[in-house]
Symmetry: C2
Subunit: 379 residues, 2 copies
């Protein structure tokens, strides 16, 4: 029995301007592609392992983790398989089934899944709804205090640094302080921030920060980051009773292969690019300004933008779709003709996109392409 053809090429997404926010921060620089081929084979990083991934000297995973810890200002750091696996590990180590935690109402679905897999209940901090959908420190404080008033023993707090629906940057520093005043350890989910903008876990009053290599650290998936304060190291990284050197929550070792080689190779690039975050934000604000010149197009979420992930309400494209022979697919198809991809096929009422990493010229070209498509159908 022959294998099917799996269509293992990705030209469309690699060769065109890809606006999918999920794909903008995980693109590999040249040096990471080189590392990927060096470490392509199976257990490639394990040649010189003496029992612990984080202590491998060749390639220097030890040296890398020191640099990474310093980069995000945590006492200890490990790689995991992704931000979700980092969140699961912290919840698993700190909570029992039936416990309750507090999370923001814009949390990623994987936060909910990590809690559900652990049998943990969640109390949610509501956002302030349309059009901002913001999580405010005041609302976080109120929800947290209500829970305490209701004698709920909160074991953990979680805040999404930048959410994946609106690209709202939260005030981690204030919310971290609120959690600490209540004596509750807090995780910051930095899947959309670590590697894009500077993260200083201690400055942000965070006990844990989790990041995503494939989302925002220019690494091949799947790989995540889990940074923590010294006081939690013994709990989160507790050693096996039987295999003393092995860390139980890591199942011994986590990212044993190619993705960690790319994360390592990309760190110098990432350390450099976060210094230019203000330019990325300016580019996004400029993009929003141009997009909003189109009739009825409106950026939702906090204004002005503080992150590249942007959500637009686009009733005009929905209107065009009504009368178009290709219905909702017309937008995807018109964009693709212009070498732009990454807006979901069929979506016209609203969409999320990002111009992270594009040049000013590319940003202008993208905005003009949207305008051109409107002009084509609305004149």
């Amino acid at each position: 029995m022959e294998c099917q053809d799996y269509g293992l090429t990705r030209n469309t997404e690699r060769d065109n301007l890809n606006l999918n926010p999920l794909q903008r921060g995980g693109m590999l620089p040249q040096e990471a592609k080189k590392a990927l081929l060096e470490y392509a084979d199976g257990y490639s990083v394990c040649d010189y392992c003496a029992g612990r991934l984080d202590q491998i000297p060749t390639p220097s995973i030890t040296g890398f983790l020191e640099d990474l810890a310093q980069f995000i200002n945590v006492d200890e750091v490990r790689t995991t398989h992704g931000a979700r696996e980092s969140k699961f590990a912290v919840m698993h180590a700190l909570c029992e089934p039936g416990d309750t935690i507090i999370v923001d109402g814009n949390a990623h679905y994987t936060t909910h899944l990590a809690a559900e897999r652990n049998g943990i209940k969640m109390i949610e901090v509501p956002n302030n709804e349309h059009p901002e959908y913001a999580i405010t420190p005041e609302s976080y404080k109120e929800t947290l205090e209500n829970a305490i008033d209701n004698k709920i023993d909160l074991k953990l707090a979680l805040l999404t640094h930048v959410d994946g629906n609106y690209g709202n940057l939260t005030d981690a520093k204030k919310i971290g302080e609120i959690a600490h005043k209540a004596g509750i350890p807090i995780i910051l989910n930095c899947a959309y921030s670590m590697g894009r903008l500077p993260i200083d876990a201690k400055e942000l009053n965070m006990d844990f920060v989790v990041g995503s290599g494939h989302k925002s650290l220019a690494a091949s998936g799947p790989i995540g980051v889990l940074g923590m304060k010294e006081e939690y190291v013994d709990t989160i990284l507790r050693h096996s009773k039987r295999h003393g050197v092995k860390e139980v929550e890591m199942l011994g070792c986590t990212s044993r292969g190619a993705p960690i080689a790319t994360l390592m190779a990309s760190l110098p690039h990432v350390k450099d690019r976060v210094k230019h975050w203000d330019e990325e934000v300016r580019k996004t604000i400029n993009f929003v300004r141009q997009m909003e010149e189109i009739e009825g197009v409106k950026q939702v979420g906090k204004r002005p933008k503080e992150h590249d992930l942007t959500r637009f309400e686009t009733p005009i494209f929905d209107k065009i779709a009504e009368n178009h022979t290709r219905r909702g697919f017309f937008l995807y198809e018109e964009l693709k003709k212009r070498n732009i991809v990454g807006i979901k096929r069929g979506q016209t009422k609203w969409f999320k996109c990002s111009v992270y990493g594009f040049s000013e010229e590319q940003v202008n070209y993208i905005a003009n392409s949207f305008k051109e498509i409107v002009d084509k159908y609305m004149e």
Copy 2:
């Protein structure tokens, strides 16, 4: 602050004959290296995701999982981050903390870690000790029946198909039958077998089979396989209450990136190579015969070999080390001069190795190199 130099090259292990059993089955064929570069970037396989990794049509993860399920004869299959993560997921779904399971005494440390992370107790089936270290169906049956006699409610059984210390192939079919007669679901850990030799989960009376892409399926790490019978699908792959489409034990999605692309690209190669397993075994038996021509060298574990992973007792190398200026390092260094790597530095009393995938000529060259080294020092 500059990043350290992580030494991200792997020439030594890529350009020489690598005897490390961990590295033999994870080497990528050309087509997988191509896929690795196509899917190098971050969340590369997620361009056309509608919410579930296993249902992605482009590349056809759906088609791949169908082929994979057929290849190992299971009703349903998922990719995970590795064999250990597959075992953890099954234990997590089927057991509560405090439960007891039965495992073979040659189980990999990750089986112990998966149980420990789940708060599960283990009863262990002893092997028959030196020199075979074999796990027999009789001993499995006896341990299992003793546990039942002692009113221990065994929730799960686990058998290591081929262990990582002696390369002993166990009689999965008989032990599967023993577990089933006792009404206990059983997992077969195929980390060292799936992708090297043919696996037919139903023929082997297994409810679950777990595999390792990086260890034996010619894939970049980390990626694992979790195959299961229909009757366990609803439990192991239960859906989230809040995010109906997402599978809780998978935390939504698992291998979102480059490793799954390599696993997919390698499947035709792997399907073909398992057909030649008998040749690999013959090569190993020939290698053992040549190695045992060296004074005092003795293969331990079951005889004749039924798997490429081979453990030798090598007192002669230990004796040479005693008087050598480089002590135990001499063997590693002498082998490296002959373009052979993969025996741990400093090890001389015994070692594990594998000639999987080498040509007859290479096998002879390797055996002759060991002889040459002995001759150099013992004449």
